[in-house]
Amino acid sequence: KDWTKATITLEGAYAPWNLTNADGTLGGFEPELAKVLCERAKIECTLVASDWDGMIPALNAGKFDVIMDALSITEERKQVIDFTIPYAATPAAFATAKDSPLAKAAGTGSTIKMTPGQTGVKEIDALKEAFKGKTIGIQAATVYAKFVYDNFGDIAEIREYKTGADRDLDLQNGRIDLGFDDAVYFANAFKTANGALDFTGPEIVGSIWGEGEGLGVRKADTDLRDKFSEAIKSALADGTVKNLSMKWFQVDVSPQQ
């Protein structure tokens, strides 16, 4: 198939990755990046908003051609769809209320690097000591959920939320003690929490989170995947991704090799 046109879907409600403006148009990091990528791939793109829950089945049903929704590249997802190379890779971290006894836990401000399945990391063991008997909130069915279950499942109570935003509200309400998620997402969420929340413990980076966030396409559309992968490569190379990232996240999320 000759790709001159493609439909890209995103949720439109996951600020600042992607969001909807009051006039109904889409904005945020991903829509602006998409514009650049499409230009470079010489594809005429249409952006449509759709619900997160049905996104991957709908892609495979053919409702649209590309998913661009902070979609982490994981083994499970690779079974059903294909990914481009990543255009972003973000660290993850714990968050808690500023006035909580858990604030400023050991390692706060530092960064540790982890690989999949890695155990015996001393920073994590220190956290386990501090978080014993506490309640940790995560978004269901994410790579972060798996990490928390693997490392804290035996010492803390884990509560799964449908969305990160719900979890943040409960963190403010005091129903849970800690949250664990994408640090970039958190940094943005803290702004609307009126300074009540903050990071605690070290930032965690590395291949443990997979390769990062990439565009999802149907397995059959390898040519489309390759076109976008090329475009991403060039956008990373000339710093376009970094610029957009600084604009929307105030940090650089471009994947580091």
């Binding site: 949720e11 439109g12 409600a13 996951y14 600020a15 969001l19 909807t20 403006n21 009051a22 006039d23 109904g24 449509v48 908003a49 759709s50 619900d51 829950d53 049905g54 089945p57 709908a58 049903a61 053919g62 409702k63 969305t163 935003a165 509200l169 969420a189 609307t192």
Partner: protein, 241 residues
Amino acid sequence: MASLELLGFGSTGWGALLILATLMTLAVTATALAIGAVLGAIVAGAKLSGNPFLVALGNVYTTVFRGVPELLIIYLIYFGGSSAVTAIGKAMGFEGFLGLPSFAAGALAVGIISGSYQAEVFRGAFLAISKGELEAASAIGMHRAMRFRRIIMPQVLRLAIPGLGNVWQLSLKDSALISVTGLAELMRTSQVAAGSTRQYFLFFIAGGCLYLILTSLSDRIFNGAERRANRSMPASAMGQA
């Protein structure tokens, strides 16, 4: 207050989108109710037919679509329907995707659910028609079709109005679940606005209020229709606690 500005109609206000979404909810619910009316009438007819096969079929329909959570039915129709349409398209030689648009899939799903409730409403209304009045129609020589048109239909419609009001109310709220298809109806727009601005309570309360406005408007319409249809009923039989 900055938060109230978010609900306004200015460049940063979501007022216009919310109003549009309310109209979308109204449109999708009305379409669903119309689809449901057709299905409901057919299913009610089957259940009243006396033919054991049709009766069983009607029972299966009403049991399944009232017994399975609406969300599941919407998913099954949204994805299942799309796959089916695409498969049919392929078989007929069309390339690519021919999926159901969100509006059609949503209205169809809620319509099918609403049909199972409307079938019971119509059946109840039919059974409430006085047997004597039907006999009186036979006794002056009306044939089946005429009896249906002149005596049964007008009374079924009248007797069904309160029940249809309830079904409308149910469908209105079922339509909130269509948000999973990405259709920009009231529920989804509230969620998107909440997620984009991070003003969750503001937009959920605003959404709830808009639903209440829809409810009270439709209540008024159905009450009016009921009053009109009940002109022929004694005043004392109505509105008494």
